[in-house]
Amino acid sequence: MIKNKTGRIFEIIFYPLVSILIFLIIWDVGVKNSELSVVMPGPWEVVSKFIQSFAVPIGKYTMVYHILYSLMRVVPAYIVGSLAGIILGILMGWYPVINRILRPLYELIRPIPPIAWIPISIVWFGIGEGSKWFLIFLAAFVPITLNAYAGATTVDETLIKCSKMLGASDGQVFKTVVLPYSVPHIFTGLQVGLSTSWATVVAAEMIRSTEGVGWIIISSMDTNNVVQSLVGIMGIGVVGFILAIVMRKIEEVLCRWNRIET
């Protein structure tokens, strides 16, 4: 048991650390021994700038505020997009009529990348937060709808028969079988949707902004500041990584039954 636990900690901390370290070393060696150093700063400079950015402001704010501003754009839009996606996906999966009516529309919207909506979203929602929320909403909504749909269409027929036999009404079958059956699929969608909507923050902050992790990258273009750009990239990566872990923890708690423990 104890051995198992240390084994797990080893796995969670040691391996990622080693792989990141090796990556940084290759980066370092590559930059030092070639002409690349003209366009590419070394990893230690970027890492130390990244760490400094928590104390020294980039633009108006330090890193923590940039992250919080970006999260304020992503989280509400992500939540609304998720809810809309879950509801639409399950309804499409459960009621073939709804699927037949809405599927063509959905399929038309699906391949359009969020950035393509920038001009339109500015016209519709202005250059404030509204247009940014709209882009992120789309980034979350699309993959979550698809996964919720997959969940609702693969429900085990026998479980539905079983519920009817036990006396459940159609509404109860929906609530007690279709919904829980879709939960693992929905979480797959939530996970994908979270990373796409976090990634979309860069595009969203291309629309006029003066803060945010995406803004760090965008504004570095104006000054050709490669280090700042990489610091922004690092910020996006680290936060995205943490969000994914948080999401997985939530899933583990809610879907305890889904883990094989025999």
Binding site: T158, K164, M165, L166, G167, W257, N258
Partner: protein
């Protein structure tokens, strides 16, 4: 005497036939079946593979519609699934996101029975099937035999008039299967119910049945009925058991 027996009839099936319509052809699965089942009788439907046993059971339970003929439970026609019947499925089919307790109390819960009453009921049946202590386990944490016990408790907990079981033990290993046969008898002796049990295993049929209905091949009809009045618990190796086993096996072979 004859009058008494008729009063006892709980399930009746009159001139039932079933055809499946597929794209290219119609398949006649059930020929013409008449059947009466007495209250608390343990009836085994026995027949060759793919002869239509599951279809017949689904018709009796209301999961499948008849092509012609009618099924009556307590003199009311069966037209759709309902909680006065309970089914134990071959594929076990527990709700994986509910605990053992959650699965067993599912029926009373959706029927709006209050929490205290249904918990007590569920606890009683969980204990009856020998799963006390596993109330809070999830289905993926328990063995195949235990899962099927949960399936049985779940069906029982709704206190249906008839229990339908479709080869409930066919996915279990031989050892567990024998054990479960003993268990189902113990449970049935303790909580008498009308049971319609499908199997294609002759030993299982003879061990369990008050009456064995032997089906022919597709389109299936009743070939013969055997009233089994051997004393319980039955001995797989007794002369009477072996004699019946041979007779029925022989008779089934002729239908092939």
């Amino acid at each position: 005497m004859e009058q008494d027996r008729n009063l006892d009839i709980i399930l009746k099936c009159e001139n039932v036939s079933k055809k499946f319509q597929t794209k290219h052809r119609t398949k006649e699965v059930i020929g013409n079946i008449n059947l009466e089942v007495r209250k608390n009788e343990f009836v085994v439907l026995f027949g060759p593979g793919q002869c239509g046993k599951t279809t017949m059971l689904n018709i009796l339970s209301g999961l499948e519609k008849t092509t012609t003929g009618k099924v009556f439970l307590n003199d009311r026609e069966v037209v759709e699934p309902g909680p006065d019947r309970g089914v134990v499925f071959q594929s076990i089919s527990l709700y994986p996101w509910l605990t053992v307790m959650g699965n067993v109390e599912y029926g009373p819960k959706v029927r709006g029975i209050n929490k205290k009453v249904r918990k007590e009921k569920a606890e009683y049946y969980i204990e009856l099937v020998g799963l006390k202590g596993f109330e809070n386990s999830y289905p993926n944490q328990i063995s195949g035999g235990m899962k099927q016990r949960v399936g049985i408790a779940r069906a029982y907990c709704n206190e249906p008039d008839v229990l339908f079981m479709d080869e409930p033990f066919s996915a279990l290993d031989a050892q567990t299967r024998y054990l479960m046969q003993e268990e189902i008898m113990r449970i049935w002796e303790k909580e008498k119910r009308t049971v319609i049990f499908v199997t294609n295993n002759i030993e299982e049929a003879l061990y369990l049945a008050d009456r064995i209905i032997l089906f022919t091949n597709c389109p299936t009809q009743i070939k013969k009925e055997y009233v089994i009045d051997l004393p319980r618990p039955r001995d797989y190796t007794s002369d009477d058991f072996l004699k019946l086993r041979e007779e029925i096996t022989e008779n089934m072979a002729h239908t092939l």
